[in-house]
């Protein structure tokens, strides 16, 4: 299933709805790259609230989404990492290496607003 990407003013909001396969995660990366250019987005929120597992592949892909979109001129923030998922990530030694995170969509949008000044 393709992750829906909503447009809100100068932001894109990708809202993951269920567990994703590797291909679906890579599709999300490609869709965000394309739409960031097409809509001249300045900020992107990736909402992972519905992800019940964050393994090394998912973390790596989210990290590359953040870094790639940054190179395209859009700030990216990952929101909604669940407590159990956070604990597993720490045990596994996964980090998002500098890609900002926020509690939820609301905080993510507030973060982007603050970045825009």
């Amino acid at each position: 299933m393709r992750v829906p990407i909503l447009r809100q003013a100068k932001y894109l909001i990708a809202s993951i709805q269920s567990a994703l396969s590797d291909h679906e995660l890579l599709q999300l990366r490609d869709d965000l790259m394309e739409q960031t250019g097409r809509y001249r987005a300045r900020g992107v929120v990736v909402d992972v609230t519905a992800l019940d597992v964050m393994d090394s592949f998912a973390a790596r892909t989210l990290r590359s989404i953040g870094h790639l979109l940054n190179l395209r001129g859009a700030d990216t923030v990952i929101v909604g990492i669940q407590p159990d998922v956070a604990i597993s990530m720490v045990q596994l030694g996964l980090t998002l290496e500098g890609v900002p995170t926020a509690l939820d969509l609301e905080e993510g949008l507030a973060y982007l607003d603050a970045q825009m000044g």
């Binding site: 567990a19 590797d22 597992v53 090394s56 592949f57 407590p83 604990i87 045990q91 596994l92």
Partner: protein, 133 residues
């Protein structure tokens, strides 16, 4: 161990099925949700290892009981190329697939017991167990 369930692993979408199956059994065994998530994450890593290196294999799930504690046993089996140097693949950061190399050492860190049996050309079998607290 008599498997309670088996999930064939042939593509990356099977990884999602395997971890859902693991979570189901973890719930049945009364694991707290954090442990169920930890187990599902470890399953994801060993299942991806099958997809990446062996292309197909199988994950079997079973229950174990020891000294009044319940455990979830996961066996990931493939008939792929096998592992030449197990010590090397268990070093965090080692990877031949240009990934982070966190996969197998990561799964080991997440589980209570973790064993790899492998020989070049003979496939790989990983047996790992998580005990309920």
């Amino acid at each position: 161990m008599e498997p309670e369930a088996r999930v064939p692993i042939k593509s990356d979408s099977d990884i999602v099925l395997a971890r859902a199956q693991g979570r189901l059994l973890a719930d049945e065994l009364g694991f707290p949700s954090t442990d169920a998530t930890v187990v599902a994450t470890a399953i994801s890593e060993v299942a991806r290892n099958i997809v990446q290196y062996a292309h197909h294999g199988e994950i079997m799930f079973g229950k174990a009981h020891r000294q009044g504690r319940s455990g979830l046993v996961i066996i990931a089996k493939d008939e792929g190329p096998g592992i030449e140097n197990i010590g090397l693949v268990m070093e965090p950061g080692y990877s031949t697939a240009n990934s982070l190399g966190l996969g197998l050492p990561g799964a080991k860190r997440l589980m209570d017991e973790f064993e790899i049996a492998s020989q070049p050309g003979q496939g790989t079998t990983i047996t790992m167990t998580k005990w309920a607290p």
